[in-house]
């Protein structure tokens, strides 16, 4: 058997996954943190202030990577959920459900930083602009998946129900975005183009890429850590967990 395929099968074994996640989560967190630190340092101290937006422009370095993560994580969650539903792979159920809180966190950051950025720029904490509105609905979708997963007692059924919700959500998300964009075009007159074409000077890009990579790596760390907790919870009656939990003599 191909070693990569064998590794995938091994990951599906709960004790193996526990060891894998316990080892790699801190590493991913650490690398993610370092890359983000580099990016944030660049965003705050290296990049010059934007000629139009001044220092508030620095918020972009958090807002944009978080927005991308909020979308990417939702897509990944749906992929894991689809695999879990079709092939009934327990690990994919766990990974799908572990994605949800992280994605919700990034969505929250996106909304909050977008609001904070909007206030000095356009004088308002909130605008019913298509992107912000879609992002808010995305938050509700995430919270729905989390809520449904927590509401059902049996972990496998809960993951499959919430996974189905995630898949429905990912299918509807483009529709939601399109509908809100269309609705917004009806009110053309007062539209504040919140994220208009601001061209970024190439010198301003490296911290942004650092933040994009950093958030992705951090996400892997968080995913593994949360999956580890869920794995332990599901296997809680088993011997290997009891042995693992034994106080080290």
């Amino acid at each position: 058997m191909n070693p990569i395929v064998r590794w995938f099968h091994q990951l599906g074994s709960p004790p193996y996954f526990e060891r894998f996640a316990a080892r790699w989560a801190p590493i991913a967190y650490g690398i993610g943190l370092l890359v983000m630190a580099y990016g944030l340092y660049g965003a705050l101290f290296v990049v010059p202030a934007d000629y139009q937006q001044g220092d508030s422009f620095r918020i972009l370095y958090i807002h944009v990577p978080s927005a991308w993560m909020s979308m990417a994580v939702f897509g990944l969650m749906a992929v894991y959920a689809a695999i879990a539903l079709v092939w009934r792979i327990k690990l994919c159920e766990i990974l799908a459900m572990a994605c949800a809180p992280i994605g919700a966190a990034f969505t929250l950051i996106t909304l909050a930083t977008g609001s904070i950025w909007g206030k000095p720029m356009w004088g308002t904490w909130w605008d019913w602009d298509p992107r912000l509105t879609t992002e808010l609905i995305l938050l509700f979708l995430y919270l729905g998946v989390i809520g449904l997963y927590n509401a059902i007692d049996d972990r496998r059924n809960a993951a499959r129900a919430a996974g189905l919700l995630a898949i429905v959500g990912v299918a509807l998300l483009p529709v939601i975005h399109y509908s809100v964009t269309w609705w917004n075009s009806l009110h053309q007159g007062q539209t504040i183009r919140l994220f208009g074409q601001s061209h970024m000077d190439p010198s301003m890009l490296p911290p942004l890429w650092a933040m994009v990579i950093g958030t992705h790596v951090w996400f892997v760390g968080s995913l593994l850590a949360r999956a580890r907790a869920d794995n332990l919870r599901r296997e809680s009656g088993k011997d290997w967990v009891a042995r693992l939990a034994e106080p080290r003599t």
Partner: protein, 61 residues
């Protein structure tokens, strides 16, 4: 216009959420391991005292 407060607020939100994202799973793992430890201890205690024979009177008081 000073944007300092806004930048600090935005970066602050980011830090707080990232901190939560770091600590929440750690706490969950620790709780799971603790629950497993206590469960194992309860099972050991049960095995030590052994099952009560069916004819023995129920403990009272």
């Amino acid at each position: 216009m000073s944007y300092e407060g806004y930048v600090i607020a935005a970066y602050g939100v980011f830090m707080v959420v990232m901190l939560w994202d770091f600590f929440a799973p750690r706490i969950q793992v620790r709780q799971q391991l603790r629950a497993a430890r206590m469960r194992a201890a309860r099972n050991e205690k049960g095995k030590a005292t052994g099952p009560r024979p069916p004819e023995a009177p129920l403990p009272r008081g």
